[in-house]
């Protein structure tokens, strides 16, 4: 597996990857639970197609942002279902992306404020 430890190379994250990392930030989830979490994000609900979703999951696994884990012992589950967990590297990237977005928002706010005062 190719795993680059350089956070800056992983940035910027795609919209979907960012939301997947967000969903996995608090707990390990299986694929459909991730989609549900992504869909229910009140700030920015996304509804990716299943193909698109797994395409993203595959890429993120390859990049070492997430990894596959055993299903939790207390849940009886379909053997086809797989669980994913965020890696330490994933957390770093998520934090970096959040900082990047924050900076972006600040910059945008400033720009919007300037343009409205100029009017």
């Amino acid at each position: 597996m190719h795993r680059s430890k350089d956070v800056s190379q992983a940035l910027p994250l795609t919209h979907l990857s960012f939301h997947i990392l967000l969903a996995l930030a608090t707990q390990d989830l299986h694929g459909y639970a991730v989609i549900k979490a992504v869909k229910s994000n009140p700030a920015n609900p996304l509804n990716p197609g299943t193909g698109t979703f797994y395409s993203a999951i595959g890429r993120m696994l390859d990049e070492g942002l997430i990894r596959e884990v055993e299903p939790p012992a207390d849940e009886s589950t379909d053997p086809r279902r797989r669980y994913y967990s965020i890696t330490d590297f994933g957390r770093e990237v998520l934090a970096a992306e959040t900082r990047r977005l924050h900076a972006l928002v600040q910059f945008a706010q400033a720009a919007v404020a300037t343009s409205s005062t100029q009017k």
């Binding site: 190719h2 989609i35 197609g49 299943t50 193909g51 698109t52 797994y54 086809r80 279902r81």
Partner: protein, 937 residues
């Protein structure tokens, strides 16, 4: 499509699509993707309804396509760039290894191959994208093309799924190549007859030949649920039959050896899957419960798997299975000799050969057994022997299979023609559109595009249309099948052909769709990519030439040919119906109500059959609105005819037989009146012809002529072969048509029901009330007399009579509709071609008129041109119809397949319509003012 079907279908499509993804991706996420898509769809359906779920599925299918493309891009990117490595990329172990081990040309070759695949893939994707864009740009055209293809492909899929269910799909048996059916060949010419229970025992003794020999039979039974009695289809089977076939119960178990030893001792039952679903709603806790079957509680021990229908009549679904030795219990133990009498032949035998035994060897050994039986039981086996047929060669029964294959060929030909028609129609559209795209294509050719590449691209478009059309067509097929099942005639038990759309059908549909796409697109694609580049680019109008019309005219001629074939077929069936209506059947066809009752299956002992039927008839006669009630085991011109062998003293039976095989009706005293059958001599059956008095028979005129030519038949004798009962001829009745309206009159014997009771009777009521009401009255009478009586059908005379002509009516309807559709398309095409030709020839017409040609001459010229096309089509169509009509001969009643009236009138009608279609644009051409026309260019 029902929901589980639809779910299975889309899941199947997703599975197919996964094969478009790189293998690594498919292996990694395939199962999960399918699972999640299904879960999401279920959630969407729950939250937003079925329509939203359907849209979700479409989106998912498209989404996975897009993902497949992206994944390939990624896969190729990560594996390809060995030679493009830039310094800033870290060198991985894998790459170092590759470099070390393959400095040779092998690597280069591999790389080249990979590159070629990549380029081809890229080209396909590019074509697909381009095609999608083109189709999206012309939604009107796309919609029409998809709808017409959907109809064509849907018709093919519908018919094929039935053919698949009946003739192609292999039965779910284990190692079917080791299985053989063993039929009994009998003297009356049937090679595939039933055998007796004693035969089964004898065959089991051939232990070095067979691992196992099992048997099955078909019966009618009655099940009581609450206060009501329902007829059910029962299959008695030997305990070893299911293990022999390698079929396990879906729930519970199959029969145990000890349950099949003592007659009537073990009342256990296995439910058919359909019956379990229908009556018990698939309840999995029913094992151990009882079913009231034939008045006895039978314990449920198992449920059959879904894909297992029926052994006795595949296509029908057996409701329940019982051990073979419970057979007699189904009819109140009223069948003496069922297991011991070698003459009672009611079972079909199936055996599994030992590994090393070949079919030929088995045949020889079994023939030896036949010989031995001939010696031991000469009276029964003299003209009887076993017939071994490998099971994979049997669908329903070898002699029936041939007929079915013939019907299947006919139907497939018909729908094939419809698809061909759709393709020609689409090709016409594409040609017309090709004219619009000429410029675009000329530009691309001029820029150096290869022609092959352009043709591939245009074909991608039509094949894509075909695929989309087939997706819609699957829906059309399902709809058509539902419609067709609604058409199915009222029979004993509903025919439920398992025509589900399985892998075979899907592969067929996709193949048909691709073929249709290529067929419709190839000629236009070749034509469109061959434009006059220079003149097109200069935007020169190519006037004065009619060159572009050759292909178009060809298509129109083809459409006309197809419509001729279909209309001739339809016409032949309409003539059949006409002829059949004109025939005097010999009895009154005035409508009445009918109820069929099965006394044996009702559990009535044989000695009560006469008294019960007499009570039924009496009760019915006493009701208001009922004018007459007759009783018989059969009705002329309806399904099911009973025959028996009779010895007529002084008249030799046909070669190789012991008796004359004659149709017989077992009737009561009122039957002749109720049916309006006239007596020409002697008397009819009376209430005095009872058990204990001399057996009597009324013969038909033809029987009288055949057996006693020139002599008085009254007082003569007829002897039933086997029972040796002697019947005295007491009357002669007018001939009636028995099986087909066009048949030559055949001999017919009417026996007294009281002297020859049979299990299966029909009550026929005539009166002032409507036939339906009369039938309902009869049913109420039956229920009132004994609510355990099994009513097999409640119908009317009209329905019964229409059954005989049902295939003709259906065929006339279908061929007629398709024929008119073909005609309409052909005429529209013709009109288009003529209009186009006229517009191209405006200049020529102008010059002619300026030179003094009159209107008539111009009209004549244009119409002559058009009729050339029509005549080519008509001639081709007639030749095809001449050969294809022969296929129909089996269905035609009283009409020759090459019926001159049809073969002349259809082309005449078509030419008339075509003339009209050509005349309108021709007339317009003649209205052209010469001055205007000459100024045209």
């Amino acid at each position: 499509m029902s929901t589980p079907h639809r779910r299975r279908f889309v899941s199947w499509i997703l599975g197919l699509e996964l094969y478009l993804c790189p293998p690594s991706f498919r292996r990694r996420f395939g199962p999960e993707i399918k699972l999640m898509a299904q879960e999401r769809a279920a959630d969407v359906r729950e939250e937003q309804g079925r329509a939203a779920a359907a849209i979700f599925w479409i989106a998912e299918i498209m989404n996975l396509l897009v993902a497949a493309r992206r994944e390939w891009g990624r896969a190729l990117r990560t594996s390809a760039p060995k030679n493009m490595q830039t310094g800033d990329e870290p060198v991985t172990h894998g790459r170092r290894n590759t470099r070390r081990t393959s400095p040779s040309g092998r690597d280069a070759r591999r790389k080249y191959r990979r590159g070629a695949i990549k380029r081809a893939l890229h080209a396909v994707l590019q074509d697909l994208r381009y095609a999608l864009r083109q189709l999206a740009k012309h939604p009107g055209f796309t919609a029409i093309a998809v709808i017409s293809l959907a109809i064509g492909i849907g018709a093919n899929t519908a018919v094929f799924s039935v053919v698949n269910a009946v003739l192609i799909r292999s039965r779910p048996y284990e190692a079917p190549e080791e299985l053989v059916h063993i039929y009994t060949r009998t003297e009356n010419g049937s090679d595939y007859g039933n055998s007796s229970y004693q035969d089964l025992i004898d065959l089991r003794s051939l232990e070095d030949l067979f691992v196992e020999v099992g048997a099955f039979a078909g019966r009618t039974g009655r099940v009581r649920i609450g206060d009501e009695t329902f007829p059910v289809m029962v299959e008695p089977v030997t305990h070893n039959l299911f293990p022999l076939l390698g079929i396990r119960a879906a729930l519970g178990r199959t029969f145990l050896p000890e349950e099949d030893v003592v007659p009537g001792a073990h009342a256990v039952v296995i439910l058919g899957h359909g019956y379990w679903q229908r009556v018990y709603a698939g309840d999995s806790t029913i094992l151990g419960q009882t079913v009231d079957l034939a008045g006895r509680p039978f314990t449920i021990v198992g449920v059959m798997p879904e894909q297992f229908e029926s052994l006795f009549v595949p296509g029908l679904r057996t409701d329940v299975f019982v051990p073979m030795l419970m057979t007699a219990s189904l009819a109140g133990d009223e069948e003496p000799g069922l297991y011991s009498d070698r003459r009672v032949r009611g079972i079909k035998i199936i055996a599994r050969l030992r590994r090393a035994v070949r079919v030929e060897h088995a045949r020889a050994q079994v023939a030896g057994l036949s010989q031995q039986l001939k010696v031991n039981h000469p009276e029964t086996y003299e003209t009887r022997s076993f017939n071994v047929v490998p099971t994979p060669d049997v669908q329903l029964q070898p002699d029936v299979d041939a007929g079915l294959a013939y019907v299947a060929t006919l139907l497939m030909t018909m729908v094939g023609l419809v698809l061909l028609l759709t393709c020609t129609n689409l090709a016409g559209f594409l040609l017309a559109r090709g004219t619009d795209r000429k410029r675009e294509i000329a530009v691309r050719l001029a820029l150096g595009a290869r022609r092959g590449r352009l043709v591939t691209q245009l074909l991608t478009e039509t094949v894509l249309l075909g695929i989309i059309g087939s997706a819609v067509g699957l829906g059309v097929a399902q709809w058509g099948l539902n419609l067709l099942t609604g058409f199915v005639p009222p029979t004993y038990f509903p025919i439920t052909v398992d025509h589900r759309i399985d892998g075979t059908v899907l592969i067929f549909t996709i193949a048909v769709a691709t073929a249709a796409g290529v067929l419709a697109g190839l000629a236009p694609a070749i034509k469109t990519t061959k434009p006059d580049v220079a003149s097109t680019l200069k935007d020169e109008a190519v006037t004065g030439r009619t060159g572009g019309l050759g292909l178009h005219s060809g298509l129109v001629a083809l459409q006309i040919a197809i419509s001729i074939v279909l209309l001739v077929g339809g016409g032949l069936f309409i003539r059949t119906l006409q002829v059949a209506n004109d025939v005097d059947p010999g009895f009154t066809t005035e409508d009445g109500g009918i109820v069929w009752v099965d006394l044996g299956a009702s559990g009535l002992p044989r000695h009560e059959w006469t008294s019960t039927t007499e009570r039924l008839a009496e009760e019915a006669r006493s009701l208001p609105g009922v004018a007459g009630v007759g009783l018989s085991n059969g009705i002329p011109l309806s399904v099911g005819t009973w025959r028996a062998d009779y010895v007529v003293p002084g008249v030799d039976p046909p070669e190789g037989r012991h008796g004359h095989r004659v149709v017989y009706y077992s009737i009561d005293s009122e039957f002749f009146d109720a049916m309006g059958i006239a007596l020409v001599a002697g008397r009819g059956i009376t209430t005095f012809d009872r058990d204990g008095t001399e057996p009597v028979v009324v013969v038909s005129e033809t029987a009288a002529r055949r057996f006693w030519p020139g002599a008085d038949p009254l007082g003569r004798e007829v002897i039933t072969l086997g029972s040796n009962r002697v019947h005295r001829v007491v009357g002669v009745a007018r001939d009636v048509k028995i099986e087909r309206p066009d048949e030559d009159p055949q001999p017919l014997f009417y026996l007294s029901y009281a002297q020859t009771p049979v299990t299966n009777v029909r009550l026929i009521a005539r009166g002032l009330a409507t036939p339906r009401e009369l039938a309902a009255t009869l049913r109420d009478v039956v229920r009132a007399v004994d609510d355990d009586l099994v009513i097999l059908a409640e119908t009317t005379m009209g329905e019964q009579l229409s059954l005989v002509l049902f295939p003709s009516r259906l065929a006339a309807g279908l061929l007629g509709v398709f024929g008119v559709m073909a005609l309409t398309l052909a005429i529209i095409g013709l009109y288009g071609v003529v209009s186009f030709a006229v517009s191209r020839r405006t200049q020529e017409v102008g010059i002619r008129m300026a030179l003094g040609a009159n209107t008539g001459a111009v009209v004549g010229m244009v119409v002559r041109g058009a009729m050339g096309v029509v005549l080519v089509g008509v001639a081709t169509g007639l030749v095809a119809a001449w050969f294809l009509a022969q296929l129909l001969s089996w269905f035609l009643v009283g009409v020759q397949p090459r019926d001159p009236i049809t073969l002349v009138s259809v082309p005449l009608l078509l030419c008339g319509v075509a003339l009209l279609a050509a005349f309108v644009p021709a007339r317009r051409a003649s209205k052209v003012s010469p001055v205007q026309a000459l100024r045209y260019d």
